[in-house]
């Protein structure tokens, strides 16, 4: 399955958030598309991103690299990158790489949008 991406803007208590809904497989082939999307958003001035990964079937280290790259970019603008994920198979990859300490991971888009910490 290919990668699907869609974005929408949502207002939260901390200000506007851009939700990036990702579906399908994020791997060495598709990750560049996600990278382009994140780079484009940051270049367009969206510095507070919520990446919704509930529709992601597969994630590998290439995808992790893109997310870390996105985090680096938004932080350069004092922004944030939050993840939404409940799938154990995906969460496991964040755990074994220690990235659960790097990304705030939320159980729902609402929770991520309303987070102000």
């Amino acid at each position: 399955m290919d990668l699907s991406l869609s974005t929408r803007n949502v207002s939260g208590p901390g200000g506007d958030r851009t939700v990036v809904e990702v579906g399908g497989e994020i791997d060495v082939y598709t990750a560049p598309k996600l990278r382009e999307q994140l780079v484009e958003l940051v270049n367009d001035g969206s510095y507070h991103l919520v990446v919704d990964m509930e529709g992601v079937d597969f994630l590998d280290s290439t995808g992790l690299g893109v997310l870390v790259g996105g985090l680096k970019r938004v932080r350069a603008h004092e922004g944030s990158l939050r993840l939404v994920c409940n799938q154990e198979r995906i969460l496991k990859i964040f755990r074994i790489t220690g990235l659960t300490k790097v990304f705030p991971i939320h159980g729902s888009v609402d929770e991520a949008v309303n987070a102000t910490d």
Partner: protein, 148 residues
């Protein structure tokens, strides 16, 4: 003898095919369903790494995957043809020539791939020689139910 062998040109789009084949053969070999996700991810990481190494070294040869069903064991070997690649990107200076800022995320990915593999797979061995590197991984299998 290998149960299934796969050779694919070093293109990112073929890594998914390798994942699907490996998972299908692993399932047939009796690897526990709960572990198949790990097999899929580990073989994908190893193949992504091999594809990256071939491309960065301008090697036209295919990436080689060998899936072997043994007694109580299912093993996967992913071979690249980059001499001395077994130690990861750090062992091959200049593998990722520094490019524009947009490419700067890539450097860590090779090493992260190996980190994911070693975090996922208990039995893993990374070797390298003059003809290239091999990542060898194996998982226990549960014996198939004997049909009457």
């Amino acid at each position: 003898m290998a149960t299934v062998e796969l050779r694919f040109s070093a293109q990112p789009e073929h890594v998914r095919t390798a994942r699907l084949v490996a998972a299908a053969v692993a399932r047939r070999a009796g690897v526990d369903e709960a572990v198949l996700d790990e097999v899929r991810l580990a073989v994908g990481e190893a193949c992504s790494r091999a594809v990256g190494l071939h491309r960065s070294h301008g090697i036209d040869a295919p990436v080689h995957v060998v899936l072997t069903e043994e007694e109580k064991l299912f093993s996967i070997e992913v071979g690249d043809e980059v001499p001395g690649s077994g130690g990861g990107a750090s062992a091959v200076p200049g593998v990722r020539a520094s490019g524009p800022e947009d490419e700067s995320d890539d450097g860590a990915e090779d090493e992260m791939g190996l980190a994911v593999i070693s975090g996922l797979v208990d039995d893993v061995e990374v070797t390298s020689g003059e003809s290239g590197g091999i990542i060898r991984m194996s998982w226990p299998t549960t014996p198939a139910t004997v049909l009457p």
